[in-house]
């Protein structure tokens, strides 16, 4: 797959790879639209999506009102989490990093669970509290670990782990003291639930995600150098601290927004960047867009399984991502040995 690497990464290579992945994404979206308790044939959806022929009233309602917003939100969540994973792995120079590593997921969860306990709605109250929880955690972790304006990776990681542990205890406290149907809501939130997707969530998160992705992409070759050591990056003229601050805050912002809608969906941000790195190499100019689009594909596919596999009942999507992701990841690890993570 990495045959032409002695010519380096070119714009053409990035565009071609991006288009191929977008093609795969569209195919996955179309297939996902056709799957569900109510059968709508793929051919009808294809005709409808390119403007030929209309769907009957009931099919249109299911496709447009229920399945499409959910699929699109799954795509945005997968996109953001994978983008976050690839950036955090580079900034922290750690292959185990993922977007939740600074404690953002547990902070968001505390917010969401408080929202559920006090009976706030799933459309505004819970997401808002969860987003505030996420933001609070990130600012807490960053302010604890910054020294004279510098963010040191090992300190950040440690602080994240400890803050995570604390908030997990808070979450367990609420779970232990709740016994009614709210418990079910909490558990679904903790393992990811896209069934509450609305178009309004897309219009809130999409502009933010686009802006942050653009900035992150601009930093992609800076990230290449940071992976090779912060000293070398500094010497070559990379404003290392600026790249770190902007990236940490930007990624945390979009992660906080998307998980406030979806709940915590693990594994996407860890596995997709690694998979893409194996296929396409570690250059972030290619890896960043590939991971982001790949993450969208992966999460849409996983959520489609989550809502169809035990239909009419549903699984939390985080269960599917981990259930499929973990064995697949171990398989890849065995295949490739330590070639792609070794120090």
């Amino acid at each position: 797959m990495r045959g032409s690497e002695d010519q380096g990464i070119t714009l053409v290579k990035v565009i071609v790879t991006g288009l191929i992945l977008l093609g795969i994404l569209i195919i996955i979206i179309l297939i996902s639209l056709s799957l569900g308790p109510a059968k709508v044939s793929l051919r009808d959806i294809l005709a409808w999506s390119i403007g030929h022929g209309a769907l009957d009233q009931q099919a249109w309602m299911i496709i447009y009102k229920i399945r499409l917003p959910r699929i699109l939100l799954a795509g945005l969540v997968g996109f953001s989490l994978s983008l976050g994973g690839v950036v955090f792995q580079a900034l922290l120079r750690n292959p185990l990093a993922e977007p939740f590593i600074l404690g953002i997921s547990s902070g968001a969860a505390v917010g969401a669970i408080i929202g559920i306990v006090f009976g706030f709605g799933f459309h505004l109250g819970v997401p808002l509290l969860s987003f505030m929880g996420a933001l609070f955690t990130v600012l807490l972790v960053i302010s604890i670990s910054s020294r004279q304006g510098g963010l040191e990776s090992a300190t950040l990681l440690l602080t994240g782990v400890i803050v995570n542990a604390f908030f997990t205890a808070v979450i367990m406290f609420f779970i232990a003291t709740t016994s009614d149907s709210r418990l079910h809501s909490m558990l679904f939130w903790l393992y990811g639930d896209l069934s509450q997707s609305k178009y309004i969530q897309l219009s809130v998160s999409l502009p933010l995600i686009l802006i942050v992705s653009g900035i992150i992409y601009f930093f992609s070759r800076h990230l290449n150098l940071i992976v090779g050591g912060e000293d070398t990056a500094l010497q070559m003229g990379v404003e290392v601290e600026l790249v770190k601050w902007v990236s940490f805050l930007g990624i945390s912002l979009i992660t906080g927004v998307v998980i406030s809608f979806s709940g915590i969906i693990g594994f996407v941000g860890l596995i997709v960047p690694h998979l893409m790195r194996m296929l396409l190499g570690p250059d972030h100019r290619l890896l960043i867009p590939a991971s982001a689009i790949g993450g969208a594909c992966f999460l849409i596919a996983a959520d489609t399984l989550a809502r169809t596999i035990i239909s009419p009942s549903e699984l939390p999507v985080g269960v599917v991502t981990a259930f499929l992701g973990a064995p697949f990841f171990i398989y890849l690890l065995k295949q490739r040995g330590s070639k792609w993570t070794q120090s």
Binding site: I9, Q235, K339, T341
Partner: protein, 269 residues
């Protein structure tokens, strides 16, 4: 000819303690300057000041007769390149990808290298004999190969001054010599000027035109290897008894470290 680099009265401190106090020297074109001194004498700090990463509160540095402080970061990176002691890439960048990263200071807003950049990278790899390694992962290389790749990256920056921070510390004797041979030939053929920090004093003495002995943040002595490396200076600065004689082949000073326990081998118990 004007020197490539001039330092005049350079001071630096991290916190309270001054770690460089009044450094004066110049780097001539095509010269290999060996920087030696005990641990903590300020060698690495001095390199980081020269490549502009650390700012000096007092003193003056002239890069091609212009104050270093008037250069932008990127301008410095196009003139001065650093080869670190070792470099750990967490992810498996290929050798070519690492080398072409040296073009970073030359790229504008368009984030992709062009044909010209690829040509320069390949030329640097040819000069450092790393072309055959192009597709290998940087993490699979031996210590000596890796250092050659990092030197190739420095050449790809098309800098005219290369700073090397103990590039041979982790290498065996054959690979140490290889790196010094490479640096020596590059200064001759490419007109580079080099500052190299090394603890291999006898080996460095065979290659360096001049040597600078740092002691507690000051220049203890600078000059030709035979002037700087004497039993007196080395044993005083390193606080360690040494014997200095002449390498019978190169006629450069040769250092033997003496045991503090006196003469003769210890008997096994």
């Amino acid at each position: 000819m004007d020197p490539e680099l001039i330092l005049r009265g350079v001071f630096f401190r991290y916190e309270q303690q001054w770690c460089l106090r009044g450094i004066d020297f110049e780097l001539r074109k095509g010269e290999i300057l060996g920087l030696i001194g005990p641990n903590g004498s300020g060698k690495s700090t001095l390199l980081r000041i020269i490549d502009g990463v650390l700012k000096i509160p007092k003193g003056e540095i002239l890069l091609r007769n212009k104050p270093l402080s008037t250069y932008k970061r990127g301008d410095i990176a196009r003139q001065i390149a650093m080869v670190p002691q070792e470099s750990t890439f967490r992810f498996p960048f290929s050798v070519f990808e690492v080398v072409i990263m040296g073009r970073f200071p030359h790229l504008g807003l368009f984030p992709f290298e062009g044909e010209e950049d690829v040509k320069i990278a390949r030329q640097s790899m040819r000069l450092t004999h790393t072309l055959d390694l192009a597709k290998r992962s940087i993490n699979e290389l031996s210590g000596g190969e890796k250092q050659r790749v990092l030197i190739a990256r420095a050449l790809t920056q098309t800098a005219h001054i290369i700073l090397l921070d103990e590039p041979t510390s982790f290498l065996d004797i054959r690979h140490k010599v290889e790196i010094f041979d490479l640096i020596s030939s590059l200064t001759l053929t490419q007109g580079l000027s080099v500052i190299i920090v090394s603890h291999d004093i006898s080996l460095a003495a065979q290659y360096c035109h001049r040597m600078l002995l740092l002691d507690k943040g000051g220049v203890y002595k600078i000059g030709e290897p035979a002037e700087v490396i004497t039993a007196d200076t080395i044993s005083t600065v390193y606080e360690c008894p040494v014997l200095v004689d002449k390498n019978p082949i190169s006629k450069t000073p040769r250092l033997t470290v003496l045991s503090r326990r006196g003469e003769g081998k210890r008997e096994m118990i």
